[in-house]
């Protein structure tokens, strides 16, 4: 966990990609869950953030 946080602070690719993937996955779950309309409404923004983040952070050094 400390390694993960360290990687985030030092702008390493691995942990940031992980974070972006989690955001995308969260967005997809929010999009398709049957429980909360508000989650569905905000899902697109979450997925979009995750996707843009993924594109940016995949250029960070390993």
């Amino acid at each position: 966990m400390t390694r993960f946080l360290n990687g985030l602070l030092r702008l390493r690719r691995g942990p940031w990609e992980m974070l972006a993937s989690i955001l995308i996955a969260l967005g997809v779950v929010m999009l398709m869950q049957p429980l909360f309309l508000w989650a569905y409404t905000w899902s697109f923004l979450v997925t979009l953030t995750g996707t843009v983040m993924f594109i940016v952070v995949s250029h960070f050094p390993e």
Binding site: A20, L48, T51
Partner: protein
């Protein structure tokens, strides 16, 4: 301008001879080779995509080209993301997605595990199992409507043969409760071999010595399965799940032909709703916004997929 003798000679030589002597430089050749592909993709994928984004901010309708186009900002997105019907079609997609993945992973992994026992003739049977995967989804959906016919269909007959239920008493594609399962069954029939093939590659990538070492340590077969087989196959399984997830999220052809989204809207997956909005109701601007939402989701999942792909490649 000062020139070296070589440069002067090069400038004086006709270009055709230069290329014949030196050949085109690698850098130029690389660009010549890559450019047509990139150009084609820009023209047929990226340009339309940008156009879609533009359309998504308007109230344009493709069947009324003379009507004045109004700039509506993000209102289309707002309407879609608060629309209960579209939310409902997302849930129908989720049902389809989750069950196809669960069934395909369970059956596909089991089959791969069994085939990996290397019994006689396993190649032949693998080839037979793989066949449905390569067929046209639209044509498959179409002929399954025949197999699902209440009275005469093979599927209903087989079910009634084993369960004793009257074959004309239920209709897989006509009933609200059964239709979501009808599409799950056909997709599972079609795509289980895909998961199976990938799992098989995963199983075959495990070197024998790991099992030998485990046997020397007297690890039980059960323990070997959970501590060696499953973790080693997991990246491959991840790949299969992501790929099927993306494909089924945008599923259109097979389901359109099988149920057409019906009965009611029980099997109306996202792409079918999109087609209806765009090409039947002709709400081009609105459906463009919807298309962008689907596209961003797929693109996000695709980034994760490529990451998983590279992970497997390293093995």
């Amino acid at each position: 301008m000062t020139q070296t003798p070589i440069e002067r000679a090069a400038a004086a030589t006709p270009p055709a001879i230069v290329t014949r002597v030196k050949g085109i430089s690698d850098r130029t050749l690389a660009w010549i080779f890559v450019a047509p592909t990139i150009f084609l993709l820009l023209a047929i994928n990226i340009f339309p995509l940008i156009w879609t984004i533009r359309l998504s901010l308007t109230n344009y309708r493709a069947n009324r080209t003379n009507a004045e186009v109004e700039w509506v900002g993000l209102r289309n997105y707002e309407r879609i993301l608060t629309d209960g019907d579209i939310w409902h079609s997302m849930q129908a997609t989720a049902h389809f997605l989750i069950w196809t993945i669960v069934l395909q992973v369970l059956i596909g992994f089991t089959l791969a595990y069994l085939i990996n026992k290397k019994f006689k003739g396993n190649d032949l049977w693998t080839t037979i199992i793989v066949l449905p995967m390569m067929l046209s989804p639209a044509v498959v959906g179409n002929f399954w409507t025949f197999l699902y016919q209440p009275q005469i269909g093979l599927f209903n007959y087989v079910v009634s043969f084993f369960s004793g239920v009257d074959p004309s008493s239920f209709s897989m594609i006509g009933s609200v409760n059964l239709a979501p399962w009808a599409i799950v069954i056909v997709d599972t029939w079609m795509w289980t071999p895909f998961v199976m093939l990938i799992c098989l590659a995963g199983l075959r990538s495990i070197p024998d010595y790991i099992y030998e070492a485990a046997a020397i340590d007297r690890a039980s077969p059960w323990r070997q399965f959970w501590t060696i087989t499953v973790p080693m196959v997991l990246p491959f399984l991840m790949l299969a799940v992501l790929f099927r997830g993306i494909e089924n999220f945008k599923m259109f052809d097979m389901v359109t032909l099988l149920t057409g989204g019906g009965p009611g809207s029980t099997t109306e997956l996202t792409s079918i709703t999109l087609k209806r909005e765009a090409f039947e109701k002709w709400r081009t601007g609105y459906s463009s916004a919807y298309a962008i939402i689907l596209f961003v989701t797929v693109f996000g999942l695709a980034s994760i997929y490529v990451k998983a792909l590279n992970k497997v490649k390293e093995r």
